[in-house]
Amino acid sequence: MNILHTENLSKIYHHKDGLVNALKNISLTAEKGSFVTITGPSGSGKTTLLLTLAGLIRPSSGSFSLMGKNLSCVSDSELALFRRENVGFIMQSFALIPYLTAIQNVKLPLALIKMNKAIQQSKAVEVLKTVGMGERMNHLPRELSAGQQQRVAIARALVNAPSIIFADEPTGNLDPKLSVEILDFLKAINQKNNITIVMVTHSPVAADYGNVRIHLDNGEINTMTNKN
Protein backbone atom coordinates (compact mmCIF):
# COMPACT_ATOMS: atom_id res chain seq x y z
CA MET A 1 0.00 0.00 0.00
CA ASN A 2 1.38 3.39 -0.99
CA ILE A 3 1.56 5.72 1.97
CA LEU A 4 3.35 8.50 0.12
CA HIS A 5 2.91 9.59 -3.44
CA THR A 6 3.95 12.72 -5.32
CA GLU A 7 3.54 13.79 -8.91
CA ASN A 8 5.56 16.58 -10.50
CA LEU A 9 5.92 18.32 -7.18
CA SER A 10 7.58 21.70 -7.55
CA LYS A 11 8.35 24.46 -5.13
CA ILE A 12 9.46 27.94 -6.11
CA TYR A 13 10.59 30.48 -3.57
CA HIS A 14 10.66 34.17 -4.20
CA HIS A 15 13.98 35.45 -2.95
CA LYS A 16 15.47 38.94 -3.10
CA ASP A 17 17.98 37.65 -5.63
CA GLY A 18 15.27 36.13 -7.81
CA LEU A 19 13.25 32.96 -8.05
CA VAL A 20 14.61 29.83 -6.42
CA ASN A 21 13.44 26.52 -7.85
CA ALA A 22 13.78 24.50 -4.69
CA LEU A 23 11.98 21.43 -6.06
CA LYS A 24 11.53 20.50 -9.68
CA ASN A 25 8.95 17.96 -10.77
CA ILE A 26 9.51 15.48 -7.98
CA SER A 27 7.59 12.26 -8.49
CA LEU A 28 8.03 9.46 -6.02
CA THR A 29 6.18 6.73 -4.20
CA ALA A 30 6.80 4.99 -0.89
CA GLU A 31 5.00 2.03 0.63
CA LYS A 32 3.75 1.83 4.18
CA GLY A 33 6.52 0.77 6.53
CA SER A 34 9.27 2.19 4.32
CA PHE A 35 12.31 3.91 5.73
CA VAL A 36 12.93 6.67 3.20
CA THR A 37 16.15 8.62 3.39
CA ILE A 38 16.72 11.81 1.44
CA THR A 39 20.27 12.93 0.86
CA GLY A 40 21.97 15.55 -1.22
CA PRO A 41 24.26 18.53 -0.96
CA SER A 42 23.30 21.68 0.89
CA GLY A 43 20.66 23.63 -0.99
CA SER A 44 19.57 20.60 -3.01
CA GLY A 45 16.03 20.88 -1.67
CA LYS A 46 16.07 18.01 0.88
CA THR A 47 14.37 19.89 3.70
CA THR A 48 11.96 21.62 1.33
CA LEU A 49 10.88 18.22 0.03
CA LEU A 50 10.46 16.86 3.54
CA LEU A 51 8.42 19.88 4.73
CA THR A 52 6.28 19.80 1.61
CA LEU A 53 5.57 16.09 2.04
CA ALA A 54 4.73 16.77 5.70
CA GLY A 55 2.22 19.44 4.73
CA LEU A 56 4.15 22.21 6.46
CA ILE A 57 4.70 24.21 3.29
CA ARG A 58 2.62 24.16 0.16
CA PRO A 59 3.96 23.10 -3.20
CA SER A 60 3.91 25.64 -6.02
CA SER A 61 2.66 22.98 -8.41
CA GLY A 62 2.14 19.25 -8.63
CA SER A 63 0.34 17.06 -6.16
CA PHE A 64 1.12 14.86 -3.23
CA SER A 65 -0.83 12.49 -1.08
CA LEU A 66 -0.26 10.87 2.26
CA MET A 67 -2.10 7.71 3.30
CA GLY A 68 -4.14 8.00 0.12
CA LYS A 69 -5.36 11.51 0.94
CA ASN A 70 -4.53 14.21 -1.57
CA LEU A 71 -3.17 17.07 0.52
CA SER A 72 -2.19 19.39 -2.32
CA CYS A 73 -5.28 21.55 -2.19
CA VAL A 74 -6.73 21.09 1.29
CA SER A 75 -7.20 23.97 3.70
CA ASP A 76 -4.75 24.93 6.42
CA SER A 77 -7.08 23.52 9.04
CA GLU A 78 -7.39 20.19 7.27
CA LEU A 79 -3.61 19.99 6.96
CA ALA A 80 -3.20 20.78 10.66
CA LEU A 81 -5.78 18.15 11.57
CA PHE A 82 -4.04 15.61 9.36
CA ARG A 83 -0.68 16.34 10.97
CA ARG A 84 -1.94 16.10 14.54
CA GLU A 85 -3.63 12.78 13.87
CA ASN A 86 -1.20 11.00 11.56
CA VAL A 87 2.21 12.60 11.52
CA GLY A 88 5.18 12.78 13.88
CA PHE A 89 8.15 15.12 13.55
CA ILE A 90 11.77 14.86 14.64
CA MET A 91 13.93 17.89 13.91
CA GLN A 92 17.67 18.51 14.05
CA SER A 93 17.16 21.28 16.61
CA PHE A 94 14.81 18.98 18.61
CA ALA A 95 11.97 21.55 18.40
CA LEU A 96 11.01 21.26 22.05
CA ILE A 97 9.13 24.02 23.88
CA PRO A 98 11.85 25.33 26.23
CA TYR A 99 9.66 26.10 29.24
CA LEU A 100 7.84 22.76 29.22
CA THR A 101 9.27 19.68 30.91
CA ALA A 102 9.97 16.55 28.92
CA ILE A 103 6.63 15.00 29.80
CA GLN A 104 4.74 18.24 29.11
CA ASN A 105 6.37 18.43 25.67
CA VAL A 106 5.35 14.86 24.97
CA LYS A 107 1.77 15.52 26.09
CA LEU A 108 1.34 18.44 23.68
CA PRO A 109 0.14 16.43 20.63
CA LEU A 110 -2.32 14.60 22.91
CA ALA A 111 -3.57 17.89 24.33
CA LEU A 112 -4.32 19.09 20.81
CA ILE A 113 -6.62 16.13 20.24
CA LYS A 114 -8.16 16.89 23.65
CA MET A 115 -7.32 13.53 25.12
CA ASN A 116 -8.29 12.86 28.73
CA LYS A 117 -5.59 14.11 31.10
CA ALA A 118 -5.10 10.76 32.82
CA ILE A 119 -4.65 9.01 29.48
CA GLN A 120 -2.28 11.80 28.36
CA GLN A 121 -0.22 11.13 31.46
CA SER A 122 -0.09 7.35 31.08
CA LYS A 123 0.70 7.48 27.35
CA ALA A 124 3.42 10.11 27.81
CA VAL A 125 5.03 8.14 30.64
CA GLU A 126 4.91 4.94 28.62
CA VAL A 127 6.50 6.43 25.52
CA LEU A 128 9.15 8.31 27.52
CA LYS A 129 10.09 5.02 29.18
CA THR A 130 10.26 3.41 25.74
CA VAL A 131 12.84 5.98 24.58
CA GLY A 132 14.78 5.59 27.83
CA MET A 133 13.73 8.88 29.37
CA GLY A 134 11.67 7.49 32.24
CA GLU A 135 14.02 9.02 34.80
CA ARG A 136 14.11 12.49 33.25
CA MET A 137 10.45 13.13 32.61
CA ASN A 138 10.24 16.27 34.72
CA HIS A 139 13.36 17.91 33.40
CA LEU A 140 13.31 20.99 31.21
CA PRO A 141 15.02 20.69 27.80
CA ARG A 142 17.92 22.87 28.99
CA GLU A 143 18.56 20.35 31.77
CA LEU A 144 18.95 17.52 29.25
CA SER A 145 21.81 16.56 26.96
CA ALA A 146 21.41 16.80 23.20
CA GLY A 147 20.82 13.05 22.95
CA GLN A 148 18.23 13.15 25.70
CA GLN A 149 16.44 16.08 24.07
CA GLN A 150 16.28 14.16 20.82
CA ARG A 151 14.82 11.18 22.67
CA VAL A 152 12.14 13.43 24.09
CA ALA A 153 11.47 14.72 20.57
CA ILE A 154 11.15 11.12 19.37
CA ALA A 155 8.79 10.36 22.24
CA ARG A 156 6.65 13.35 21.21
CA ALA A 157 6.68 12.13 17.61
CA LEU A 158 5.55 8.66 18.71
CA VAL A 159 2.99 9.52 21.36
CA ASN A 160 0.02 9.98 19.04
CA ALA A 161 0.81 6.68 17.26
CA PRO A 162 1.50 8.26 13.86
CA SER A 163 1.49 6.43 10.55
CA ILE A 164 4.44 8.40 9.30
CA ILE A 165 7.34 10.23 10.94
CA PHE A 166 9.25 12.99 9.19
CA ALA A 167 12.76 13.48 10.50
CA ASP A 168 14.96 16.39 9.42
CA GLU A 169 18.61 15.65 10.19
CA PRO A 170 17.69 13.96 13.49
CA THR A 171 21.33 13.14 14.22
CA GLY A 172 22.79 16.42 12.96
CA ASN A 173 23.49 17.72 16.47
CA LEU A 174 24.59 14.44 17.99
CA ASP A 175 27.97 12.71 18.28
CA PRO A 176 28.50 9.52 16.22
CA LYS A 177 27.76 7.14 19.10
CA LEU A 178 24.50 8.88 20.00
CA SER A 179 23.64 9.14 16.32
CA VAL A 180 23.84 5.39 15.95
CA GLU A 181 21.66 4.91 19.04
CA ILE A 182 18.99 7.24 17.68
CA LEU A 183 19.12 5.70 14.21
CA ASP A 184 18.89 2.21 15.66
CA PHE A 185 15.89 3.31 17.64
CA LEU A 186 14.21 4.80 14.57
CA LYS A 187 14.89 1.62 12.62
CA ALA A 188 13.41 -0.40 15.48
CA ILE A 189 10.18 1.52 15.59
CA ASN A 190 10.04 1.46 11.80
CA GLN A 191 10.23 -2.31 11.79
CA LYS A 192 8.40 -3.10 15.01
CA ASN A 193 5.53 -0.62 14.69
CA ASN A 194 5.45 -0.50 10.89
CA ILE A 195 5.72 3.30 11.02
CA THR A 196 6.91 4.89 7.78
CA ILE A 197 9.90 7.12 8.31
CA VAL A 198 11.03 9.83 5.92
CA MET A 199 14.42 11.14 6.99
CA VAL A 200 16.61 13.88 5.58
CA THR A 201 20.29 13.40 6.30
CA HIS A 202 23.73 14.47 5.24
CA SER A 203 25.27 11.40 6.72
CA PRO A 204 25.95 8.39 4.46
CA VAL A 205 25.84 6.19 7.56
CA ALA A 206 22.34 7.45 8.38
CA ALA A 207 21.29 7.14 4.74
CA ASP A 208 22.20 3.47 4.87
CA TYR A 209 19.36 2.86 7.34
CA GLY A 210 16.83 3.59 4.60
CA ASN A 211 15.37 0.99 2.30
CA VAL A 212 14.28 3.72 -0.11
CA ARG A 213 17.10 6.16 -0.76
CA ILE A 214 16.58 9.37 -2.65
CA HIS A 215 19.45 11.57 -3.64
CA LEU A 216 18.53 15.10 -4.61
CA ASP A 217 20.62 17.51 -6.58
CA ASN A 218 19.56 21.05 -7.41
CA GLY A 219 15.92 20.33 -6.55
CA GLU A 220 15.68 17.21 -8.71
CA ILE A 221 15.83 13.52 -7.92
CA ASN A 222 19.29 12.46 -8.93
CA THR A 223 18.97 8.81 -7.91
CA MET A 224 16.32 6.80 -6.15
CA THR A 225 17.11 3.29 -5.03
CA ASN A 226 14.87 0.79 -3.37
CA LYS A 227 16.51 -1.95 -1.36
CA ASN A 228 13.34 -3.99 -1.49
Binding site: H15, L51, L56, A80, A95, P109, A111, L112
Partner: protein, 405 residues
Protein backbone atom coordinates in the same frame (compact mmCIF):
# COMPACT_ATOMS: atom_id res chain seq x y z
CA UNK B 1 -1.95 19.59 29.53
CA UNK B 2 -4.27 21.99 27.75
CA UNK B 3 -4.03 25.41 26.13
CA UNK B 4 -4.69 27.26 29.39
CA UNK B 5 -1.93 25.37 31.17
CA UNK B 6 0.43 25.98 28.27
CA UNK B 7 -0.23 29.74 28.50
CA UNK B 8 0.03 29.78 32.27
CA UNK B 9 3.32 27.90 32.28
CA UNK B 10 4.76 30.31 29.72
CA UNK B 11 3.63 33.39 31.69
CA UNK B 12 4.94 31.95 34.94
CA UNK B 13 8.20 31.08 33.26
CA UNK B 14 8.71 34.67 32.14
CA UNK B 15 7.68 36.51 35.28
CA UNK B 16 9.96 39.49 34.73
CA UNK B 17 8.46 40.18 31.33
CA UNK B 18 5.01 39.66 32.80
CA UNK B 19 5.61 42.22 35.56
CA UNK B 20 7.09 44.84 33.24
CA UNK B 21 4.23 44.47 30.77
CA UNK B 22 1.71 44.81 33.58
CA UNK B 23 3.21 48.00 35.02
CA UNK B 24 1.48 50.42 32.66
CA UNK B 25 -1.90 48.75 32.97
CA UNK B 26 -1.70 48.39 36.77
CA UNK B 27 -0.69 52.02 37.28
CA UNK B 28 -3.31 53.23 34.81
CA UNK B 29 -6.14 51.22 36.33
CA UNK B 30 -4.88 52.20 39.78
CA UNK B 31 -5.09 55.91 38.95
CA UNK B 32 -8.62 55.58 37.60
CA UNK B 33 -9.81 53.50 40.56
CA UNK B 34 -8.14 55.91 43.00
CA UNK B 35 -9.68 59.02 41.48
CA UNK B 36 -13.12 57.44 41.10
CA UNK B 37 -13.08 56.10 44.66
CA UNK B 38 -12.25 59.51 46.10
CA UNK B 39 -14.78 61.04 43.71
CA UNK B 40 -17.60 58.78 44.88
CA UNK B 41 -16.94 59.53 48.54
CA UNK B 42 -16.55 63.20 47.77
CA UNK B 43 -19.95 63.22 46.08
CA UNK B 44 -21.45 61.62 49.13
CA UNK B 45 -19.76 64.15 51.38
CA UNK B 46 -21.28 66.94 49.28
CA UNK B 47 -24.66 65.26 49.52
CA UNK B 48 -24.40 65.24 53.29
CA UNK B 49 -23.26 68.87 53.40
CA UNK B 50 -26.17 69.86 51.23
CA UNK B 51 -28.49 68.01 53.50
CA UNK B 52 -27.01 69.66 56.54
CA UNK B 53 -27.78 73.00 55.00
CA UNK B 54 -31.42 71.95 54.81
CA UNK B 55 -33.11 73.53 51.85
CA UNK B 56 -30.61 74.24 49.15
CA UNK B 57 -32.78 75.74 46.42
CA UNK B 58 -34.97 78.79 46.72
CA UNK B 59 -37.86 79.65 44.43
CA UNK B 60 -38.64 83.34 44.80
CA UNK B 61 -40.83 85.76 42.93
CA UNK B 62 -39.01 87.20 39.91
CA UNK B 63 -38.89 90.67 41.48
CA UNK B 64 -37.77 89.49 44.90
CA UNK B 65 -34.19 89.60 46.12
CA UNK B 66 -32.45 87.25 48.50
CA UNK B 67 -32.59 90.08 51.03
CA UNK B 68 -36.39 90.09 50.77
CA UNK B 69 -36.35 86.43 51.64
CA UNK B 70 -34.22 86.96 54.72
CA UNK B 71 -35.70 90.28 55.86
CA UNK B 72 -39.28 89.30 55.09
CA UNK B 73 -40.05 92.72 53.72
CA UNK B 74 -43.71 93.57 54.11
CA UNK B 75 -43.98 94.62 50.51
CA UNK B 76 -42.04 91.72 49.11
CA UNK B 77 -43.73 90.20 46.09
CA UNK B 78 -45.38 86.79 46.24
CA UNK B 79 -45.97 83.83 43.96
CA UNK B 80 -49.11 81.70 43.59
CA UNK B 81 -49.49 78.63 45.78
CA UNK B 82 -50.19 76.57 42.66
CA UNK B 83 -46.49 76.70 41.77
CA UNK B 84 -45.95 74.02 44.40
CA UNK B 85 -48.35 71.76 42.52
CA UNK B 86 -46.57 72.55 39.27
CA UNK B 87 -43.31 71.26 40.68
CA UNK B 88 -44.94 68.22 42.27
CA UNK B 89 -46.67 67.20 39.05
CA UNK B 90 -43.67 67.90 36.81
CA UNK B 91 -41.93 64.54 37.50
CA UNK B 92 -38.59 66.32 37.86
CA UNK B 93 -36.11 63.95 39.53
CA UNK B 94 -34.08 65.04 42.54
CA UNK B 95 -36.63 67.18 44.40
CA UNK B 96 -36.71 65.64 47.84
CA UNK B 97 -38.81 68.08 49.73
CA UNK B 98 -40.83 71.21 49.02
CA UNK B 99 -41.48 73.74 51.69
CA UNK B 100 -43.72 76.62 50.63
CA UNK B 101 -43.87 79.51 53.03
CA UNK B 102 -45.36 82.90 53.46
CA UNK B 103 -43.36 85.31 55.53
CA UNK B 104 -44.09 88.80 56.73
CA UNK B 105 -42.94 91.04 59.53
CA UNK B 106 -45.66 91.73 62.08
CA UNK B 107 -45.88 93.78 65.24
CA UNK B 108 -47.01 92.36 68.60
CA UNK B 109 -47.00 94.61 71.58
CA UNK B 110 -44.83 97.15 69.79
CA UNK B 111 -42.16 94.63 68.97
CA UNK B 112 -41.44 93.23 65.51
CA UNK B 113 -41.48 89.52 64.79
CA UNK B 114 -41.41 87.44 61.67
CA UNK B 115 -44.60 85.50 61.05
CA UNK B 116 -43.97 82.51 58.85
CA UNK B 117 -46.64 80.27 57.45
CA UNK B 118 -45.46 76.74 56.83
CA UNK B 119 -46.91 73.48 55.60
CA UNK B 120 -46.70 70.82 58.29
CA UNK B 121 -44.61 67.73 57.47
CA UNK B 122 -42.75 69.37 54.61
CA UNK B 123 -41.16 71.99 56.78
CA UNK B 124 -39.25 69.93 59.29
CA UNK B 125 -37.72 67.75 56.66
CA UNK B 126 -35.80 70.74 55.38
CA UNK B 127 -34.70 71.98 58.79
CA UNK B 128 -31.86 69.87 60.13
CA UNK B 129 -31.32 72.31 62.94
CA UNK B 130 -34.77 71.52 64.31
CA UNK B 131 -34.14 67.83 64.69
CA UNK B 132 -33.86 67.96 68.44
CA UNK B 133 -37.26 69.50 69.03
CA UNK B 134 -38.62 66.04 69.65
CA UNK B 135 -41.83 65.98 67.73
CA UNK B 136 -43.02 64.48 64.54
CA UNK B 137 -42.33 61.21 62.77
CA UNK B 138 -39.21 60.41 60.85
CA UNK B 139 -39.24 61.45 57.24
CA UNK B 140 -36.99 59.51 54.93
CA UNK B 141 -35.26 62.05 52.74
CA UNK B 142 -33.87 60.56 49.59
CA UNK B 143 -31.30 63.16 48.72
CA UNK B 144 -27.99 61.38 49.00
CA UNK B 145 -28.98 57.94 47.89
CA UNK B 146 -30.49 58.82 44.53
CA UNK B 147 -27.66 57.36 42.54
CA UNK B 148 -26.04 53.97 42.60
CA UNK B 149 -22.80 55.65 43.62
CA UNK B 150 -24.40 56.93 46.78
CA UNK B 151 -26.23 53.77 47.74
CA UNK B 152 -23.85 50.93 47.21
CA UNK B 153 -21.12 51.59 49.70
CA UNK B 154 -22.71 51.53 53.08
CA UNK B 155 -22.40 55.25 53.57
CA UNK B 156 -24.27 56.05 56.76
CA UNK B 157 -25.63 59.48 57.40
CA UNK B 158 -28.17 59.74 60.15
CA UNK B 159 -28.92 63.30 59.16
CA UNK B 160 -30.63 62.00 56.10
CA UNK B 161 -33.46 60.93 58.36
CA UNK B 162 -35.58 63.98 58.99
CA UNK B 163 -38.54 64.45 61.18
CA UNK B 164 -41.61 66.11 59.83
CA UNK B 165 -44.14 68.06 61.78
CA UNK B 166 -47.04 65.67 62.16
CA UNK B 167 -49.49 68.44 62.37
CA UNK B 168 -49.61 72.12 63.04
CA UNK B 169 -53.21 72.98 63.54
CA UNK B 170 -54.79 76.08 62.18
CA UNK B 171 -54.96 77.37 65.76
CA UNK B 172 -51.41 76.41 66.80
CA UNK B 173 -48.02 78.06 66.49
CA UNK B 174 -44.35 77.26 67.06
CA UNK B 175 -42.09 79.87 68.60
CA UNK B 176 -38.42 80.48 67.99
CA UNK B 177 -36.29 80.83 71.10
CA UNK B 178 -35.91 84.60 70.97
CA UNK B 179 -39.55 85.15 70.04
CA UNK B 180 -40.70 83.01 72.99
CA UNK B 181 -38.43 84.92 75.38
CA UNK B 182 -39.53 88.27 74.06
CA UNK B 183 -43.22 87.35 74.22
CA UNK B 184 -42.80 85.62 77.64
CA UNK B 185 -44.68 82.59 76.36
CA UNK B 186 -44.40 78.91 77.04
CA UNK B 187 -46.10 75.80 75.66
CA UNK B 188 -49.91 75.89 75.72
CA UNK B 189 -49.95 79.67 76.32
CA UNK B 190 -52.17 81.69 74.04
CA UNK B 191 -50.92 84.22 71.53
CA UNK B 192 -53.14 86.68 69.68
CA UNK B 193 -51.99 87.86 66.26
CA UNK B 194 -54.11 90.44 64.42
CA UNK B 195 -57.27 89.16 66.07
CA UNK B 196 -56.52 85.45 65.66
CA UNK B 197 -55.84 83.48 68.84
CA UNK B 198 -53.23 80.73 68.61
CA UNK B 199 -51.92 78.15 71.10
CA UNK B 200 -48.18 77.69 71.49
CA UNK B 201 -47.62 74.06 70.49
CA UNK B 202 -43.86 73.93 70.87
CA UNK B 203 -40.83 76.08 71.60
CA UNK B 204 -38.06 75.50 69.12
CA UNK B 205 -34.44 75.00 70.17
CA UNK B 206 -32.06 77.83 69.56
CA UNK B 207 -30.63 77.68 66.04
CA UNK B 208 -28.61 80.87 65.86
CA UNK B 209 -30.53 81.84 62.74
CA UNK B 210 -33.41 84.10 61.80
CA UNK B 211 -35.68 81.19 62.83
CA UNK B 212 -35.09 82.17 66.50
CA UNK B 213 -37.17 85.33 65.97
CA UNK B 214 -39.94 83.64 64.04
CA UNK B 215 -43.44 82.66 64.87
CA UNK B 216 -44.43 79.67 62.79
CA UNK B 217 -48.06 79.08 62.00
CA UNK B 218 -49.98 76.90 59.58
CA UNK B 219 -49.58 78.30 56.05
CA UNK B 220 -53.32 78.67 55.58
CA UNK B 221 -53.61 80.46 58.91
CA UNK B 222 -50.80 82.81 57.89
CA UNK B 223 -52.50 83.56 54.59
CA UNK B 224 -55.71 84.27 56.51
CA UNK B 225 -54.00 86.44 59.14
CA UNK B 226 -52.02 88.42 56.55
CA UNK B 227 -54.88 88.57 54.08
CA UNK B 228 -52.82 87.11 51.23
CA UNK B 229 -54.88 84.17 50.05
CA UNK B 230 -53.26 81.41 47.99
CA UNK B 231 -49.98 83.31 47.81
CA UNK B 232 -46.59 82.41 49.20
CA UNK B 233 -43.27 84.24 49.57
CA UNK B 234 -40.97 81.43 48.61
CA UNK B 235 -40.61 77.72 48.09
CA UNK B 236 -37.65 76.16 49.83
CA UNK B 237 -36.55 72.98 48.08
CA UNK B 238 -34.31 70.20 49.29
CA UNK B 239 -32.73 69.13 46.06
CA UNK B 240 -30.44 66.20 45.64
CA UNK B 241 -26.89 67.43 45.07
CA UNK B 242 -26.37 65.12 42.11
CA UNK B 243 -29.58 66.36 40.57
CA UNK B 244 -28.45 69.97 41.11
CA UNK B 245 -25.22 69.26 39.31
CA UNK B 246 -27.23 67.56 36.58
CA UNK B 247 -29.24 70.69 35.87
CA UNK B 248 -32.12 70.62 38.34
CA UNK B 249 -32.20 74.42 38.49
CA UNK B 250 -32.66 74.70 34.75
CA UNK B 251 -35.49 72.19 34.80
CA UNK B 252 -37.24 74.13 37.55
CA UNK B 253 -36.78 77.39 35.63
CA UNK B 254 -38.41 75.75 32.63
CA UNK B 255 -41.61 75.02 34.50
CA UNK B 256 -41.58 78.23 36.58
CA UNK B 257 -40.27 80.80 34.09
CA UNK B 258 -41.52 83.85 36.01
CA UNK B 259 -39.67 83.04 39.19
CA UNK B 260 -36.19 83.50 40.47
CA UNK B 261 -34.52 80.19 41.30
CA UNK B 262 -31.21 80.07 43.11
CA UNK B 263 -29.07 77.72 45.18
CA UNK B 264 -28.02 78.33 48.74
CA UNK B 265 -24.37 78.01 49.55
CA UNK B 266 -21.39 78.74 47.38
CA UNK B 267 -19.48 76.00 49.15
CA UNK B 268 -21.82 73.37 47.84
CA UNK B 269 -21.62 74.56 44.28
CA UNK B 270 -17.83 74.72 44.54
CA UNK B 271 -17.73 71.14 45.76
CA UNK B 272 -20.07 70.04 43.03
CA UNK B 273 -17.72 71.67 40.54
CA UNK B 274 -14.78 69.90 42.17
CA UNK B 275 -16.58 66.60 41.86
CA UNK B 276 -17.34 67.31 38.23
CA UNK B 277 -13.69 68.11 37.64
CA UNK B 278 -12.60 64.86 39.31
CA UNK B 279 -15.06 62.93 37.22
CA UNK B 280 -13.70 64.55 34.07
CA UNK B 281 -10.14 63.85 35.22
CA UNK B 282 -10.92 60.19 35.71
CA UNK B 283 -12.45 60.04 32.23
CA UNK B 284 -9.33 61.67 30.77
CA UNK B 285 -7.19 59.13 32.62
CA UNK B 286 -9.42 56.36 31.34
CA UNK B 287 -8.86 57.50 27.76
CA UNK B 288 -5.11 57.82 28.35
CA UNK B 289 -4.88 54.38 29.93
CA UNK B 290 -6.89 52.87 27.09
CA UNK B 291 -4.23 54.11 24.69
CA UNK B 292 -1.14 53.62 26.84
CA UNK B 293 -2.30 50.26 28.22
CA UNK B 294 -3.24 48.92 24.81
CA UNK B 295 0.05 50.05 23.31
CA UNK B 296 2.00 48.62 26.25
CA UNK B 297 0.26 45.24 26.10
CA UNK B 298 0.41 45.27 22.31
CA UNK B 299 4.12 45.98 22.47
CA UNK B 300 4.63 43.15 24.93
CA UNK B 301 2.58 40.79 22.79
CA UNK B 302 4.42 41.82 19.67
CA UNK B 303 7.79 41.19 21.31
CA UNK B 304 6.47 37.94 22.76
CA UNK B 305 5.19 36.76 19.40
CA UNK B 306 8.50 37.55 17.70
CA UNK B 307 10.42 35.89 20.48
CA UNK B 308 8.18 32.84 20.27
CA UNK B 309 8.15 32.45 16.50
CA UNK B 310 9.96 29.13 16.85
CA UNK B 311 7.54 27.87 19.52
CA UNK B 312 4.56 28.96 17.44
CA UNK B 313 6.15 27.11 14.53
CA UNK B 314 6.51 23.98 16.68
CA UNK B 315 2.88 24.17 17.72
CA UNK B 316 1.80 24.62 14.11
CA UNK B 317 4.06 21.73 13.09
CA UNK B 318 2.46 19.26 15.49
CA UNK B 319 -1.00 20.23 14.30
CA UNK B 320 -2.12 23.40 16.07
CA UNK B 321 -4.79 25.28 14.11
CA UNK B 322 -4.25 28.96 13.37
CA UNK B 323 -7.32 29.63 15.46
CA UNK B 324 -5.69 27.85 18.40
CA UNK B 325 -2.62 30.09 18.12
CA UNK B 326 -5.01 33.03 18.14
CA UNK B 327 -6.76 31.60 21.20
CA UNK B 328 -3.48 31.03 23.03
CA UNK B 329 -2.44 34.67 22.60
CA UNK B 330 -5.86 36.09 23.48
CA UNK B 331 -6.04 33.80 26.49
CA UNK B 332 -2.71 35.22 27.55
CA UNK B 333 -4.11 38.73 27.06
CA UNK B 334 -7.11 37.83 29.25
CA UNK B 335 -4.86 36.52 32.01
CA UNK B 336 -2.71 39.66 31.81
CA UNK B 337 -5.85 41.79 31.90
CA UNK B 338 -7.26 39.90 34.86
CA UNK B 339 -4.05 40.22 36.87
CA UNK B 340 -3.63 43.85 35.80
CA UNK B 341 -7.20 44.69 36.76
CA UNK B 342 -6.96 43.10 40.20
CA UNK B 343 -3.58 44.67 40.97
CA UNK B 344 -4.71 48.03 39.57
CA UNK B 345 -7.84 47.95 41.74
CA UNK B 346 -5.79 47.09 44.81
CA UNK B 347 -3.28 49.86 44.06
CA UNK B 348 -6.01 52.45 43.36
CA UNK B 349 -8.02 51.56 46.45
CA UNK B 350 -4.93 51.60 48.62
CA UNK B 351 -3.91 55.00 47.22
CA UNK B 352 -7.42 56.41 47.66
CA UNK B 353 -7.57 55.14 51.24
CA UNK B 354 -4.44 57.10 52.13
CA UNK B 355 -4.88 60.09 49.83
CA UNK B 356 -8.61 60.70 50.37
CA UNK B 357 -8.17 62.28 53.81
CA UNK B 358 -5.16 64.30 52.59
CA UNK B 359 -6.49 65.70 49.34
CA UNK B 360 -10.26 65.67 49.77
CA UNK B 361 -10.58 65.63 53.57
CA UNK B 362 -12.81 62.56 53.39
CA UNK B 363 -12.55 59.02 54.70
CA UNK B 364 -12.47 56.49 51.89
CA UNK B 365 -13.13 52.75 51.82
CA UNK B 366 -12.91 50.11 49.09
CA UNK B 367 -15.68 49.99 46.51
CA UNK B 368 -16.04 46.34 45.45
CA UNK B 369 -18.01 47.24 42.32
CA UNK B 370 -14.93 48.98 40.96
CA UNK B 371 -13.08 45.66 41.02
CA UNK B 372 -15.47 44.33 38.39
CA UNK B 373 -15.02 47.46 36.26
CA UNK B 374 -11.24 47.46 36.72
CA UNK B 375 -11.00 43.83 35.58
CA UNK B 376 -13.36 44.34 32.63
CA UNK B 377 -11.54 47.48 31.43
CA UNK B 378 -8.15 45.86 31.94
CA UNK B 379 -9.14 42.72 30.02
CA UNK B 380 -10.63 44.90 27.28
CA UNK B 381 -7.39 46.88 27.01
CA UNK B 382 -5.27 43.71 26.93
CA UNK B 383 -7.39 42.07 24.27
CA UNK B 384 -7.45 45.24 22.16
CA UNK B 385 -3.67 45.53 22.37
CA UNK B 386 -3.21 41.85 21.51
CA UNK B 387 -5.52 41.55 18.53
CA UNK B 388 -3.00 42.58 15.90
CA UNK B 389 -0.01 40.59 17.25
CA UNK B 390 -2.28 37.55 17.66
CA UNK B 391 -3.55 37.94 14.11
CA UNK B 392 -0.03 38.00 12.71
CA UNK B 393 1.15 35.18 14.97
CA UNK B 394 -1.66 32.96 13.73
CA UNK B 395 -0.51 33.62 10.18
CA UNK B 396 3.06 32.50 10.81
CA UNK B 397 3.93 29.61 8.56
CA UNK B 398 6.29 27.18 10.19
CA UNK B 399 9.69 27.12 8.49
CA UNK B 400 8.90 29.91 6.04
CA UNK B 401 12.03 32.00 5.84
CA UNK B 402 11.56 32.98 2.24
CA UNK B 403 8.44 34.25 0.66
CA UNK B 404 6.60 31.90 -1.60
CA UNK B 405 5.87 33.16 -5.06
Amino acid sequence: MNLFKLVWIELWNKKTQLISSLMAIVIGIGVIVGIRTINVYSEKAVAVKLDNLGANILVLPQAASIDDYYTSDIDAPTIPMEYVEKILTSEIQGVDNLSPKLTRRIEIGGKKYVLTGIQPKNEMASKPLWQNTGFGKELQASCAPTTEANTSHGYEDEKLKRKGVDSLDYSECLLGTQAAKSLHLKVKDKLKIQGTELTVAKLLDETGTVDDDRIFVNLKAAQEILGIKDQISAIEIMGCCNAISDGLLGKLRNILPDTRITTIGQIVSTQIETNKMMKKTSIIFLIIILFVGSISIGNYMWANVNERKKEIGILRMIGCYKSEIYKILLLKACILGLIGGILGYALGTFAAYYMGPVFAQIEVAAIPLFLVWAVLISIGISITGSLLPAYFAARFEPFSNMQEE
